[in-house]
């Protein structure tokens, strides 16, 4: 399952990319064949999980940006003695 992907600059080797596209297609196709017993209306929507997975990942990264801006301090923040409990 190793996925050789190095971020930023150059694209992954073509082989890796093509492999990814194949699996994605397969999963989408399987959606049609398989009936899923859904508790919630939204869940019954086809490709719900695929879309939700992708969007959730993006949401998490966005959320982490927010946390990074609000809740981060320099590394030695707690080391400076300011009545450190």
């Amino acid at each position: 399952m190793a996925k050789s992907k190095n971020p930023k600059s150059k694209l992954t080797p073509a082989l890796g990319l093509r492999l990814l596209a194949a699996v994605a297609g397969l999963l989408v196709l399987a959606e049609i064949l398989v009936h899923r017993h859904a508790y919630f209306a939204l869940e019954a929507m086809p490709l719900f999980f695929a879309g939700f997975g992708f969007l959730a990942f993006l949401a998490i990264i966005l959320g982490s940006r927010l946390v990074a801006k609000l809740a981060t301090r320099p590394v030695d923040y707690y080391d400076t003695p300011e009545g450190d409990a």
Partner: protein
């Protein structure tokens, strides 16, 4: 004495731990494993129901009582203790191994406690023994972190005692059973268990202390305290609906913090926090299926979380750092660790065929069945979060991603590999053939996991989350790890609280010092007067002449006679 030692589970480990520092290295490991083996065999044989009781000053204590739920927890605690011994084979530190064994023993004994007072005893014992594990850490901040850790743990113990006291006062007796959370006693107990189960606002100690502990210490710590708290919550507050929303918050929030955090062991601490969130949601739902889910999940989580902590512990042990910003391309130099770590990651993101899948789905199914849509959605969201902060950040990038600078590392020592291998095997084993675990669960409720639709949905979720990562990194938007301190709820105790107290205490102290100075001046004044009076020539005790002494004598005599007349 021996009979008592063998009949009370866990006590064998606690007492046995006393001998540990005496033995040299090799026989010590064998001795510890033997102890764990015997203890495991003994505890496994205990059927449900009350076994040994004792009375202390009019209170009747139930020393050993097994619930339906106790057996799986006891089993996983023994497994964790054994794995820890293997994992710490290379570590010469006697105190950590002794403390670790006593810590495991105390946790196991606490499981079987039948009343809150015995529980309190072991509750405190876990706190005290585990502090040594934190203290064994090498970083400069260890001492302070250990003290903060101890404060919170003992604080939880005190609140537990308060709850027990209130229960005893109301006359409801001390035996551990379902407690109405909305009474003062109930609230105390909820808070006590909540602190150790890292509820929101009081979870700071988990992310603060665990990463400061030693390589082996963190692994030991990750297994017992939190799971014990979950077990107590399950016993006392099953079905308490607000817990569902507490659990949800506990699950979702750490995802964002884990994404930003740079120290990978702290990332794991956040992930441990959101796993606990899952379990608390299960307890909140309270149906038999949900409780089964919580127990199963606790069982599996102890193992795969342990595995992840072990793997990163190995990385820290070899490279000297666990900072995401400094790690990369370790797979080549630490292939086995990489594989075991990947197995752990796949389990935690509940990838089919791995332990997470068969256990988390129970809770997920229970939540869905009860129709809590938003909670269900949150749980799915968190699974994606796990993909990000575990699979991508803690496994893929350090082992397979690019190395910012040449990090030389050897493969983890044999002991670690053995432990990780066993843990990975367990994760895979449970994932593939969960029946023995299901048999252990307290109730018969089942959730058919291997339904095509469900499996497909799970695969799509995970795979497209992975694609999300690919998409972001292709566009170069994926944030690189920066070395910062991420503020967590322990900020409340470390900054807000001291500042608040100083604000109030400041003026009070100033007034007090003024009063004190005035007091001191008056006392000095009094002493000076008495010194004059008592000097040689002084009135009070100087060498008075005989005449005056006799004079006083006669005056006294006269006084007595007058008194007689007056009285």
């Amino acid at each position: 004495m021996l009979e008592m030692l063998l009949s009370i589970p866990g006590l064998l480990l606690i007492v046995g731990a006393l001998l540990v520092p005496v033995l040299p290295h090799a026989p010590r490991q064998a001795y510890m494993l033997a102890l764990i083996g015997v203890s495991g065999y003994l505890t496994f044989g205990i059927e449900t129901g009350v076994h040994t009781t004792a009375s202390l000053g009019g209170l009747d204590l139930i020393l050993v009582r097994a619930e339906a739920m106790t057996k799986p927890f006891a089993l996983v605690f023994h497994i964790a203790a054994a794995l820890n011994v293997f994992y710490a084979l290379h570590d010469p530190n006697k105190t950590t191994s002794a403390a670790g064994l006593a810590y495991a023993g105390a946790a196991i004994a606490a499981l079987f406690a039948g009343d809150f007072l015995t529980l309190f005893l072991y509750w405190e014992l876990t706190a005290i023994t585990s502090v040594f594990l934190v203290l064994a850490g090498t970083s400069a901040r260890t001492m302070n972190a250990a003290m903060r850790y101890l404060l919170m743990q003992v604080g939880s113990g005190v609140v537990l005692l308060a709850g027990a006291g209130l229960l005893w006062r109301d006359g409801t007796g001390l035996t551990i059973q379902a407690v109405d959370a909305l009474t003062p006693a109930g609230l105390c107990l909820l808070l006590a268990f909540g602190i150790k189960a890292a509820f929101p606002l009081v979870n700071g100690w988990l992310q603060d202390a665990y990463p400061e502990a030693s390589v082996t210490g963190t692994v030991m710590l990750s297994a017992f305290t939190t799971k014990l708290a979950i077990y107590m919550l399950a016993l006392c507050f099953a079905g308490f609906t607000p817990l569902i929303y507490i659990g949800a918050v506990m699950a979702v929030l750490p995802v964002f913090f884990a994404a930003v955090e740079n120290d990978l062991r702290r990332v794991l601490a956040y992930s441990l926090n959101n796993q606990l969130g899952f379990m608390v949601i299960g307890i909140g739902v309270g149906t038999q299926l949900a409780l089964n889910g919580t127990v199963a999940h606790a069982f599996a989580s102890t193992i795969y979380q342990g595995l992840l902590f072990m793997a990163l512990g190995a990385v820290l042990h070899r490279t000297g750092t666990a900072k995401a910003s400094q790690l990369g391309a370790l797979a080549k130099s630490m292939p086995l660790t990489a594989i075991f770590c990947t197995v752990g990651a796949l389990s935690i993101i509940s990838f089919p065929l791995f332990s997470g899948f068969v256990t988390k789905s129970l809770t997920l199914g229970a939540v869905a069945k009860e129709g809590y849509f938003f909670v269900w959605l949150a749980m799915v969201f968190v699974t994606v979060g796990a993909v990000q902060h575990i699979f991508v950040k803690a496994v893929y990038l350090p082992f397979f991603g690019p190395a910012p600078k040449r990090v030389k590392a050897k493969e983890a020592p044999l002991g670690m590999l053995l432990a990780m291998g066993a843990a990975a095997a367990l994760c895979l084993g449970i994932g593939v053939y969960p029946e023995p675990l299901y048999a252990l669960l307290p109730y018969d409720a089942r959730y058919e996991v291997w339904k095509a639709g469900y499996v497909l949905g799970e695969l799509q979720l995970l795979f497209f989350a992975g694609l999300g990562f690919v998409f972001l990194s292709l566009r170069g938007v994926y944030p690189t790890a920066m070395d910062t301190t991420v503020l967590n709820t322990d900020y409340l105790f470390r900054r807000t609280l001291p500042r608040a107290t100083m604000a109030i205490a400041g003026p009070v102290l100033r007034v007090w010092f003024v009063v004190l100075a005035a007091l001191k001046r008056s006392v000095l004044q009094m002493l000076k007067i008495s010194e004059q009076a008592s000097r040689e020539s002084g009135l009070v005790s100087g060498i008075a002449s005989i005449g005056s002494a006799a004079g006083i004598f006669l005056a006294m005599f006269a006084l007595m006679l007058i008194l007689r007349q007056v009285m």
